[in-house]
Amino acid sequence: MSKSPIIEFKDFTFRYSSQLEPTLKNINLKIYEGEKVLILGPSGCGKSTLANCINGLIPFSYPGEIQGSCKIAGNETSHSSIFSLSSVVGTVLQDSDAQFVGLSVGGDIAYALENDNMPREEMLPRVLKSATLVGMQEFLEHVPYNLSGGQKQRVSLAGIMHEHVKILLFDEPLAALDPQMGNQAIDLIDKIQKNNNCTVIIIEHRLEDVLYRPVDRIILLEDGQIVADMSPNQLLCSNIIVEKGIREPLYLQALKMAGCNVTIDDNPCNVFEINLDKYKDQLISYYSNVDTNKPLEEKKVVLKVKNVDYSYDDNKALDNVSFSINKGDKIAVIGKNGAGKSTMAKIICGILRPDKGEVYLENVNYLNYSIKELGQKIGYVMQNPNQMLVKDIIKDEVSLGLVLNNKSEDEIEKNIKEALTKCDLWSMRNWPVSVVSYGQKKRVTIASILAMNPEIIILDEPTAGQDYRVYTEIMSFLEKLNKDFGITILFITHDMHLAIEYTDRAIVFSDGKCIGDDSVFKILSDNDIIERANLKQTSLYSLATRLKINPESFIESFIVSERRKRHEKF
């Protein structure tokens, strides 16, 4: 590693023209050639702004006021241009859909070369080389619409891997990927960095997933300031990540819960390399003493899906799917994209009706209900709240469903008051929707579904792309709804943490089939299911195998004691 910094911030402060307060304050940071750095921090901490300062979007696309200096490869960015910066810094944006501007894989990889007005003959070998680097050489003719999120991201990466690029910048590379693809992405980044010896900067809040491959340094941002700049081991042993609202890796959580004090010498940044000798006995004795017996409750079946088939034209999307859902259940519906999760959700909501098989809602065949009637029994909350919000004022948004269903004035008043109170939004009922935070918007959409008094709520990726704080806010709120009001909740997700922490049962889909329907801890310790559903082993599983104890009971004990601990807190 040479000692010349390729990125150097000196007393750097930046304020967006549209804001009063600076977003980045007094940043001093040096990143050296060949380093791999993770920039960590909750949403709104300024990490994306920092990235934009490096790739030149600031100040060239987002105007604002800069104090201090920011040098990239020796040049002051404010005296440079976005074009000359983009030839040094390659950026992979969070939204790989939006970054895919070409109409084919090859066309997209060539985009930067096209803008350089490079003759086509010169372009072709380069496109092929970049595509081969990311393993997409077979797909050059493909259009974007059939590619998975992971593939699109690879194409984005290939599109910036041209010659002069010295710095690769990844803005939340894991946000849109399922767990296995996330691992592959981190792996690919690692390989490319080693082969091309470039500087890599990853911006993420999912610490554990990034640490799947080693990083040299972690920079923790809060409120536009650097609060930590240290090695992963140092950071993991300090309490700073928990304080700053970053999620701790699960295996560390498990260790700490058992009372183990992990030190830097134990090499805690990887579950396979951490030194466990000292803690083995302590761990085993702690987790074998957790009382996992739960009182058995008789539960009433609300929804029963029986042998359901569904095909889009020629593609079979659901193949003989059966399961049932009890009142008050919290269930994770997991599986990779295209496995049939959303088709199943659409079937349950009645948007699609099964080709074969039946769905019973409280023992009534649901073909008797129209979509409208079903909408009052089963609520569907979309992933992106912006796609659901249509009214200006929170109260109007929440009452919309009732108005559309021609409910009486009194009933509407009563229902929205109840829903808004349940969601802690009553005091904000007259606020405009546009001014509230993401987490609050999500609550508004949930309130607007709750107002219809549904039996079941289906939430599609309720926490996608959110940091740990918002995640906790949304999830503990949902947990409360479930506990206090007995609302049955189905989570469509591929977040394993969510499944572990907040659900009791998991239904797993793969290629249109339901391949697993069991307690979360059983599913997560079943290798076959995990592989088929594109999930990944949680680090709890790896920890258990290293301790040579049964992963199933270990994960179960962890879940039980984690929940107990969480409930004590609240």
């Binding site: 501007v101 096209e114 372009m123 659901m388 559309l404």
Partner: protein
């Protein structure tokens, strides 16, 4: 999804598909002038035949284009009927024939000359349509962008076209998702159950979140383009634009000749106005 509707996103395999974008755009531009400039049957009829051959050579999926063809033929027939209603003697100027074939009232008469003129007019419209259809079905948006640039338009214009095609499917998927969630909340989109005005209002409800999410996307896309040097130079090359091949050279000659002929025809027509040749057969009898 490889293609949506009649627009190709990837280059097809047939002869016309394989021509370069520049050739297709220039040929189309020349042919449009060619078909528009006159009512001469000896000029229009060959193009009509060629365009039909071209259409068949593309091996289109008839199932998708049939409704489009029916719709356009219907509109054009309607058009000439209205044309006739507006002026039942509109063909006289061209054919100098007033022989009455049918008379409904004193005003509404069908003369031989007008009928012939309207049929020629219909043929002209259909020729323009079938030529356009061949063009649209054979070109990909990227080739169109490259072709427009070759005609001297700024490449930003072509890029707008390209980007639009790139994101139409994404936006329609968003629309579908929003529609689903609104239906679950009780919005009635069934055409049989709601009145047209009511439905229009409900469309607006769906459009609001669609516009908002699309704006979010626009910001991201423009960043992605900036970061990869879009707008860096005055010129830009195209990955999807094949270099000129033998067939392109042949067609270059063809469209140059067509363009020259059009120029001659139009200019000479301005100097000495001519009567369109409509092959009015009964005059030869």
């Amino acid at each position: 999804m490889k293609n949506f509707n009649i627009i190709n996103l990837t280059k097809g395999k047939t002869f016309i598909h394989q021509l370069s974008g520049t050739t297709k755009v220039r040929l189309f531009a020349a042919l449009m002038v060619y078909v528009m400039m006159s009512f001469d049957l000896p000029i229009i009829l060959p193009l009509f035949i060629f365009s039909i051959i071209g259409l068949i050579s593309l091996k289109p999926s008839w199932k998708t284009i049939r409704p489009i063809i029916f719709f356009v033929v219907f509109l054009n027939v309607l058009n000439i009927i209205l044309y006739w209603l507006a002026d039942p003697h509109c063909g006289f100027e061209y054919t100098a024939d007033k022989t009455v074939l049918f008379a409904y009232t004193n005003y509404l008469v069908v003369t031989r000359g007008t009928l012939w003129f309207l049929l020629v007019r219909l043929l002209k419209m259909l020729t323009a349509f079938s030529t356009s259809l061949v063009f649209i079905m054979s070109i990909t948006p990227s080739e169109l962008a490259a072709g427009l640039t070759s005609l001297g338009f700024t490449y930003k214009l072509g890029s707008i076209v390209e980007i639009a095609f790139r994101y139409i499917p994404d936006i329609s998927r968003d629309y579908e998702n929003i529609a689903i969630s609104m239906q679950c909340r009780g919005l009635e989109l069934d055409a049989k159950k709601t009145k047209a005005i009511e439905r229009l209002k409900q469309m607006v409800i769906i459009l609001i979140p669609l516009i908002i999410t699309s704006f979010d996307r626009v910001g991201n896309i423009s960043n992605a383009m900036d970061l990869r040097g879009f707008g860096k130079g005055k010129k830009r090359s195209y990955y999807s634009e094949y270099p000129e091949r033998r067939n392109d050279k042949i067609f270059k000659l063809i469209y140059c000749l067509i363009a020259l002929f059009c120029a001659y025809y139009i200019i000479s027509g301005l100097i000495t106005p001519r009567v369109p040749k409509m092959w009015i057969y009964w005059r030869c009898l």
